[in-house]
């Protein structure tokens, strides 16, 4: 396979059969990823796809990219390590809302401030589905689950506001209710030169509430383009992001019109600067020897 031949979505589909519950939103998400990757046109061996733990974290296995189904909440540190070790790779990270905003919640801020060129796809279903329906960080207040018999007392995390507040350069939302739009948003996120975040509202067919299924989501979806939203206006994006949980805005909330250098760019710059004074490999220990 070479980078010049035209790749089709099916070229990114692995032989592994998904074991998600029939009707799960993640079936559409993986289709959106295939389409986006085909549009980007990078061959599968140039892509590293890292995930945490959860239903949605199975997704790298369903692609032909190099995949790493890692540790709960730790997809982002591993993705960053991969990107630093091999900056030429296209690095994707994926997981659920629990993986991203609870167990791994502390990692997002640091990835954003480093601005590493990684695309993070969160399949937000507002529940821990794989472990059979416990409250997750994005579960709505009042939500009744097996761990909240009388309704949740906690306000949900707003993933969109969270990443916008930390200064992410690309923030978007998608849903299986609009696969064409979802593929386009994922493609745009991958093309963004820096950290890109896509919150994908992907319903859990087994433990999700009725209002969060495809029909319910369709009823509250609204495309940002149809609202005339200016995706270069960060404050307007934050304003719209506050509707999370009540309305489902689809599209790009924010795209930094002047993307700053990525961490990789800065590291290379620093390496170039210091390389002229660098010791040859055989003298590398001299750094630690007192003269």
């Amino acid at each position: 396979m070479s980078a010049t031949c035209e790749l089709q979505p099916k070229d990114y589909k692995s032989d592994l059969k998904p074991i998600w519950c029939p009707g799960c939103g993640d079936f559409s998400v993986v289709q959106g990823i295939y389409r986006a990757l085909a549009a980007i046109g990078r061959p599968a061996h140039e892509i590293a796809f890292v995930s945490g733990i959860g239903c949605s974290s199975r997704i790298p296995g369903y692609t032909t990219a190099y995949g790493f189904n890692s540790v709960h909440g730790r997809s982002l540190p591993i993705a960053q390590g991969i990107k630093m070790a091999n900056p030429d790779l296209l690095v994707l990270a994926a997981g659920g809302d629990g993986d991203g905003f609870s167990i791994g919640g502390g990692h997002i801020a640091h990835l954003i401030r480093r601005n590493m060129d990684i695309t993070y796809l969160v399949m937000d279903n507002q529940i821990y589905g794989l472990t059979k329906g416990q409250l997750s960080p994005t579960s709505q207040k009042g939500r009744v689950t097996c761990t909240s018999k009388y309704g949740s007392l906690e306000e949900p995390v707003n993933p969109l506001l969270y990443v916008l507040a930390y200064g992410a350069g690309f923030v978007a939302q998608a849903s299986p209710t609009d696969l064409v739009g979802m593929a386009a948003v994922i493609e745009e996120a991958i093309r963004y030169p820096g950290f890109a975040f896509v919150n994908i509202q992907s319903p859990c067919v087994t433990y999700g509430e009725e209002a969060q299924q495809i029909k319910g989501l369709k009823a509250i979806q609204e495309s940002l383009a149809s609202l005339g939203h200016d995706s270069t206006d960060r404050l307007a994006a934050m304003d719209l992001a506050q509707h999370y949980g009540r309305k489902m805005h689809l599209g790009v909330f924010y795209r930094n019109p002047e993307p700053p250098p990525t961490y990789g760019d800065l590291v290379r710059e620093r390496q170039d600067l210091l390389s002229k004074d660098a010791l040859p490999r055989e003298r590398i220990l001299d750094l630690f020897i007192k003269k």
Binding site: Q8, P9, K17, P18, I19, C21, P22, G23, C24, G25, F27, S28, R35, A38, A39, T131, K132, G133, Q134, C146, T147, P176, D178, L179, V180, A183, P203, V205, T206, Y207, Q213, I214
Partner: protein, 174 residues
């Protein structure tokens, strides 16, 4: 059901045939996926029905491909799968674990109705007479497909009125 970037007014016969082939291919793949999902969840009758539907879609796709080859030989395709979504393929959320044969057939029927609606909606925008004739033919075929599914539904014993959930244990917390 969604489309992207299709200019119906200027659609050529070759592009129209290619779109029709892509629509059949998408439906075939989706039914195969549904069959695999049913296998995964030990629902063999629904899996068998979805495979039957995949076979039908494949047959129609091959017929259209033969026609396309006869008319346009191996002229390169200018339309792509990115332009269509869920035209004749059942929606992903139409599948459920432990689907009864009836539910599986109803999902297929909904897809055929959806495909018919697509061709009906596209017709007013078409300007090319040959493309119009093709779309009318495809629209009418969707009615035939509906009759095919209806015939399968008729073979089933009367509906018990029970839902699939009646046969499935409640999800248990761990």
């Amino acid at each position: 059901m969604a489309i992207r970037g299709i200019d119906f007014a200027n659609l050529s016969l070759m592009d129209a045939l290619d779109l029709a082939i892509l629509i059949e291919e998408e439906a075939e793949e989706r039914y195969e996926e549904f069959a695999a999902q049913m296998d995964q969840h030990r629902t063999p009758v629904a899996a068998g029905f979805f495979r039957y539907m995949a076979g039908n879609e494949s047959k129609h796709g091959l017929e259209l491909s033969a026609r396309r080859a006869q008319l346009f030989s191996d002229e390169p395709r200018t339309v792509s799968r990115a332009m269509i979504y869920d035209i004749e393929a059942p929606d992903y959320d139409a599948a459920r674990a432990f689907m009864s044969p009836r539910k599986a057939m109803e999902a297929a029927m909904a897809s055929e109705v959806k495909a018919h609606a697509f061709f009906v909606a596209a017709l007013p925008a078409l300007k090319n007479a040959e493309v119009r004739a093709l779309f009318e033919e495809l629209r009418d075929e969707e009615i035939e497909h509906q009759e095919l599914v209806q015939a399968e539904l008729a073979k089933l014993p009367p509906d018990s009125g029970l839902s699939d959930e009646d046969f499935v244990d409640e999800p248990a917390p761990q």
